[in-house]
Symmetry: C2
Subunit: 355 residues, 2 copies
């Protein structure tokens, strides 16, 4: 399956504030990435959507010669903003930056993403925390559906459904850990009808096994002719497990966050480069990797950079990790075509088993 | 005049701990740099010279396909280390990292730099603060001469003077703000004889005009057939002024430090990119600059990165500034050949006047 001409499954590096932390757009391109993820909530607050619109959209603002999926910011409003108040009509909140008061309706959130010129747009939803009572989860499902309908109606004021150049609009599934609510959400969102479906409200504190169950259950109920996107996941193991369940799109801060804190992803598992064992290690992070970091720099040098708080260390390691994720997705795509996915999953899982 | 095949005057980016802050070696190479500066004191303490030696030297450790000048660390011992005790034989100090006790003789400092495989080696000297009494300045000159002699004697146990592949050894001039002491230091250091001469102990708190006077006086007394290196300077104005006095080598943290704090060097003077005036500025940092940052990114985007504490901002601006310095030195070299130095100095000074 493809999305916007890009073969799935894919991983999207996270450019929350319009930058994949420490990396240049040409570096991201050199990894083979075609779609980045950014965040409407953050960009709406800073620098403001009008500035970005004046540049012709977010891709042009950040000089990214590729596509962008923007998260609506629903999750950020619920996890970062203060003094939050949810009404039938939208969300009122205080900016986590300057405390300023904002009110956003589902229509506003579509407008923001249209101004950002996102290629894939996510509607405003109501995510819930974990654990979450059945009543709260039920209400979040209801509101997410109402808002999804309003989002779609608003979106198609600007485009005809047959317009091949229009952005894509996804639907988001909620329902917390309750299978019947997940199923209800799927039925409601799918009957509205979207270009793809995102499984939201997972990986918010649940056990891994429970996350995998929810994703597997949801993916089995979603239409198989549209891409399924698992929001905010994950580790190599998460991705392999969710791909097996039929999911095709992923985003996660893990490769860059781990890169900033000194942990490398390799084909032999994670490596904590601060460990003293690497103090005179002349080899690259991963002998099987052909990225510019592994082609040029030793573990000992990168360890020295981290120990000396040199910015270059986190930059090099972020690049390596983002490159690793790109190669991981290539291997997954090849294995799906070649019928060797199960073998690949077993091989990588050996090194990336959780716990 | 050339040094190690490199046409002078040059600016050397500062890789204190074995990394020019936030920049990759291939980026530095793309700017045209051939010689970086690093610091024996820092590398001796962390990661330790034996580790670097096991990689074949500092250039190989940091994957730098070029040359390196190492500062002896004299200045760092006197400015950063605690519990410092200077004897006739050397300096005893506590590490600023872990408080460990160290004692280094002039011979040790040569050995460290030989292990680092530096291309240009600086002897241990005794810098002084400003203001500095005549008595203290006189004693520093005396000790610097004694140590310089010991450094040279030790150095030439490993090389014959005619060896064309040996590293270069520079002498350092002290004398604070006292012209007669500067002259005494120059006479003593030059009678020992070195491959080049560094003017040390300037820019430690004096007024700019006084710094320029000392440099001009010292340069006028130094032999004109050897490179003169002004340590730890400077701004574009500093460099132009000191080149006019006959100096040929410079190092300074300014381009990267300003880059990390949001100030750009341009051919129209400095630009503070955090200023709100740049919030929707679509143009590059400098329309006259052809670096990859100016070719790709707008002021507004870079301002947004700084305002959002995104690492990419300081990385892009550090690159631009280091590129600017490389071009500044190219222009200076061309102007010296073409006889238009004075015109270039006047033109740039217009935008970089101090105060």
């Amino acid at each position: 399956m493809k999305i916007l001409g890009v073969e799935l499954p894919i991983f999207m590096p996270v450019a929350t504030q319009g930058s994949v932390k420490s990396l240049s757009v040409s570096e991201l391109q050199s990894c083979g990435y075609k779609i980045l993820l950014s965040n409407a909530y953050h960009l709406y607050l800073r620098p403001g959507v009008d500035i970005i619109q004046s540049f012709g959209g977010l891709a042009d603002f950040m000089s990214w010669d590729g596509m962008i999926l923007t998260d609506s910011g629903g999750y950020q409003v619920f996890s970062m903003a203060d003094l939050r108040r949810v009404t039938e009509d939208g969300v009122e909140f205080s900016s986590h930056i300057d405390g300023s008061r904002h009110f956003l309706t589902p229509e506003d959130v579509i407008n923001i993403q249209l101004k950002l010129k996102s290629n894939i747009i996510m509607p405003l939803d109501e995510p819930v925390a974990y654990p979450c009572s059945r009543t709260d989860a039920e209400e979040a499902v209801r509101k997410t559906t109402v808002w999804a309908k309003r989002s779609k109606d608003h979106f198609f004021k600007f485009f005809s459904p047959g317009d091949e150049k229009r952005p894509l609009l996804f639907g988001i599934i909620q329902g917390s850990v309750y299978n019947d609510l997940r199923e209800r959400s799927i039925n409601e969102i799918c009957s509205i009808g979207f270009d793809g479906y995102a499984i939201g409200g997972v990986s918010v504190g649940e056990e891994k096994s429970l996350i995998y169950e929810i994703v597997d259950f949801s993916a089995s109920k979603l239409p198989s002719d549209k891409p399924i996107y698992v929001m905010g996941m994950g580790t190599p193991q998460d991705i392999l497990t969710c791909v097996e369940s039929g999911c095709a799109m992923f985003d996660c801060i893990i490769p860059t966050r781990y890169g900033r804190t000194g942990t490398a992803f390799t084909w032999q598992g994670k490596k904590v480069l601060r460990n003293s064992g690497y103090k005179d290690a002349a080899g690259p992070i991963d002998a099987q990797c052909d990225c510019f970091v592994c082609s040029n720099y030793s573990c000992a040098y990168i360890r020295h950079l981290f120990n000396s708080s040199e910015i270059l260390g986190l930059r090099l390691l972020s690049f390596h990790n983002v490159y690793f994720y790109s190669k991981l997705m290539s291997r997954i795509r090849e294995s799906l075509t070649g019928g060797s996915f199960k073998a690949l999953k077993n091989k990588i899982s050996e090194f990336y088993k959780e716990g």
